[in-house]
Symmetry: C2
Subunit: 340 residues, 2 copies
C-alpha cells in the first residue's frame, strides 16, 4: 500500500509553497483560482486525505501532548520542556517534542504530523520565520479542528488561544532601571532583530527606561543580532569602539560573549562596566563573574502551559472560548556582574 501523499509532496510536485497547498485545499480566496484548482485536482488524483482530527478526537484520547519549539540548544526551551514534563507526568500524559529549526515549513509539517492522531493538543513557541511571515493559518486550522494549542514566549496575538508569556517589556524596563540606579548612563543594548517578538518587546523596555530616566538614546550603543551563532564579532566591535558603562543583553549568550569581550580588554566587571542578561540558565550561574539576569522562570512557564492545556483537554465544555493569557512574573537575580 502506498503511503498517502503529504502536503509537502504536493508542494514539491507543483513547485508552490506548503502554505499555498494548505490554503488551496481550504479553498482560501487568498490563492488564485487557477492555483487552487490545480492543487485540488492533484490532491484528488493522489488521494490526499486531510487529517480527520475532530473525528478521531471524539473516538480516542492519546493522552499525549505535542510540543513544537524553534530549537533545543537554547537552555530556556529546555527548561520549559522540563516544566511541561513535570505536570504531564503528574497527570498521566506523555510528551512528544518536535523542532521547527526556526523554519515555517518545518513548523507546518510537524504540526500536520503530530495532529494526525498522535497527540491531543499542542504547546508551541513560534519559529522566527513564522513570526516574520505572520502566517498562522496552520495554527488556526488545528484549533478549528478541535485540538487546543497553548502558545508560550513567542506567541501570535492574531490567534485566539491560551497563552503563557512573561511581560518582556516590563522585565527589560526593570533591568535597565536597575542599571540606571547603579549610576550607569551609557548603557549598551545587545538585542535581536525586531521581528522576533520578545526581542522587540525587550528593546522597547530598554528605550522606555532610558526615556523615563531622561537619558538620551544613542543608536550607536544598540546592536541587533540576526544570526546568534555569529554574534561575537559585532559584540566585540561594540565593546571596543564605544564608550559604555553597562550592557543589557536580551539573552544569556549575548551577555556571556559581552563579558568575554570586556574581560579581554582588561576592563573590570562590575567596577567599570555592569552586565545584565536574560534567561536564567547554567551559563549565567557558573560563568566567572557570574551574571546578573532576568529570570524567565522557564520551568514555571512550562508547568503553567501544561496545566492550561490539560485543563482544556479535560474540560467537558468543548466549546469554551474563554481564552486566557497568563503572565509569569520575572525577577532579577543579582550576581557578580553588577554592583550590589
Amino acid at each position: 500500500m502506498r503511503r498517502k501523499v503529504t502536503l509537502k509532496q504536493i508542494a514539491k510536485e507543483l513547485d508552490v509553497s506548503i502554505s499555498t497547498v494548505s490554503k488551496s485545499l481550504k479553498n482560501s480566496s487568498e490563492i488564485s483560482e487557477d492555483t487552487r484548482l490545480k492543487v485540488q485536482a492533484f490532491a484528488k488524483l493522489y488521494n490526499y486525505k486531510p487529517n480527520n482530527i475532530a473525528l478521531s478526537l471524539k473516538n480516542k484520547k492519546t493522552k499525549t501532548i505535542g510540543i513544537i519549539i524553534p530549537e533545543i540548544v537554547h537552555h530556556f526551551f529546555a527548561t520549559v520542556i522540563s516544566g511541561i514534563e513535570q505536570v504531564a507526568n503528574e497527570k498521566g500524559y506523555n510528551v512528544i517534542v518536535c523542532l521547527s529549526d526556526e523554519s515555517f515549513d518545518k513548523e507546518v509539517i510537524n504540526l500536520e504530523m503530530l495532529a494526525n492522531g498522535s497527540t491531543d493538543g499542542f504547546i508551541m513557541s513560534l519559529s522566527k520565520e513564522t513570526q516574520q511571515k505572520k502566517d498562522f493559518h496552520h495554527l488556526q486550522e488545528v484549533i478549528n479542528q478541535g485540538m487546543p494549542i497553548v502558545m508560550f514566549d513567542r506567541v501570535a496575538n492574531e490567534i485566539l488561544s491560551d497563552k503563557v508569556i512573561i511581560d518582556d517589556q516590563l522585565a527589560a524596563y526593570q533591568a535597565v532601571s536597575f542599571l540606571v540606579e547603579e549610576g550607569r548612563k551609557k548603557i549598551a543594548l545587545i538585542t535581536t532583530v525586531d521581528y522576533v517578538s520578545v526581542g522587540k518587546l525587550r528593546t522597547d523596555g530598554y528605550l522606555k527606561a532610558l526615556t523615563d530616566h531622561s537619558i538620551d538614546i544613542n543608536d550607536d550603543l544598540i546592536i541587533k543580532i540576526e544570526d546568534i551563532d555569529n554574534c561575537s564579532e559585532a559584540i566585540e566591535k561594540l565593546i571596543s569602539n564605544q564608550d559604555i558603562d553597562a550592557v543589557f543583553a536580551v539573552n544569556e549568550l549575548f551577555a556571556v560573549v559581552a563579558i568575554k569581550a570586556v574581560t579581554k580588554k582588561e576592563i573590570k566587571i562590575p567596577e567599570e562596566i555592569s552586565v545584565i542578561g536574560f534567561t536564567d540558565g547554567i551559563i549565567s550561574k557558573f560563568s566567572s563573574p557570574s551574571i546578573t539576569t532576568v529570570s524567565q522562570n522557564g520551568v514555571k512557564m512550562g508547568r503553567k502551559a501544561a496545566e492550561m492545556l490539560i485543563e482544556r483537554l479535560e474540560d467537558e465544555d468543548e466549546e469554551n472560548e474563554r481564552y486566557r493569557t497568563e503572565v509569569i512574573e520575572t525577577n532579577l537575580i543579582q550576581r557578580e556582574s553588577t554592583k550590589t
Copy 2:
C-alpha cells in the same frame, strides 16, 4: 470508545512493575507462573492489544525517526539532536523526540508509544536507571518486531544493534596524559557513579593514564557524583580539602563548578591548577577562563546515527544482521584552563 488499556495501567492495577507486565505478556520464564497468568488474564479482560508493529511496518512507512534521550537540559544531547535533524531533513525524514528523564519506566512507555505506528525506527541513548537495572527487554522487543534501533553514547553491549560511540576510555586517557605532560602530578577526578557506562569508561581512562605514567592513585582525589544538580558541595569540598594541581572532570558542568570553586579560593588557573572538562558546549567556550575540553563531536555523532538508521530503513535486505559500531573520534580543544 474506550481507549485500549496500556502496560502502565496494567502495572498500576496489579501493583507490579511495567517490566513485569511486559515480560509476562511475552510469557517470559523470568516471571513466576502465578504472576504471568494474572497479568495475562487481566490483559485479556481489558482487551490489551500489543503493537502489531511488524504488520504495520509492511504496510506503510512513516518517514519519521523517534529519538529517546535521558534529558534535554544537557548541551551534549541537544547537539546530537541537531546532527540527527540535519541528516533527517536532507533525506526527507521527520524527527520526534521523547525524554526518559533518566527513568526506566518512562523509557519503556515512550518506546511503546512511538513504536505504535508513529515512527519507522529509533535513535536512543539509555537512561541511567536502564543502565543500572541492565534490563533491555524493551529494546529487544522493538528490534524483534522489525524496527531498527541505533544506540549512541550510553549503549548496551548486550543488545545487537548499530551503535555510535566515542572511545571514552581513550579520550580520558589522552586528556589525563596531557595534564601529566604539563607537569601535573596531583590530578583530581570528578566523575559520575559507575553504573553510567560513559562515566565508568572515563574513570578507567583516568586510572590507566596515571598507572602508565607511574603516578600513584590517590582515592581521596576521586569523587563520584550521583546527583548532578547538587554537585557543588562535593566539588567545593574536594578543592578546599585536597592538595591538587589539576582537575579532570567527566562533563562540562563539573568542570565549570570546579573552576568556580578554585577561583573563589584565589588559586590561579592555569598557573597553579589546570582544568580539563568533557563535552564541548557553550559553557566551556564562553566561561572565563575558557575551558580546555574533550570534544565529543555531538553533531557528528547525531549525523552518523541518523545515517546508519536511514541506511538500514532503506535497505532492501531486511534480514541484514551485520551490525556496526562506529567510533567517532574525539579531540582535545585547548583553551585558557590549561597551560599551552
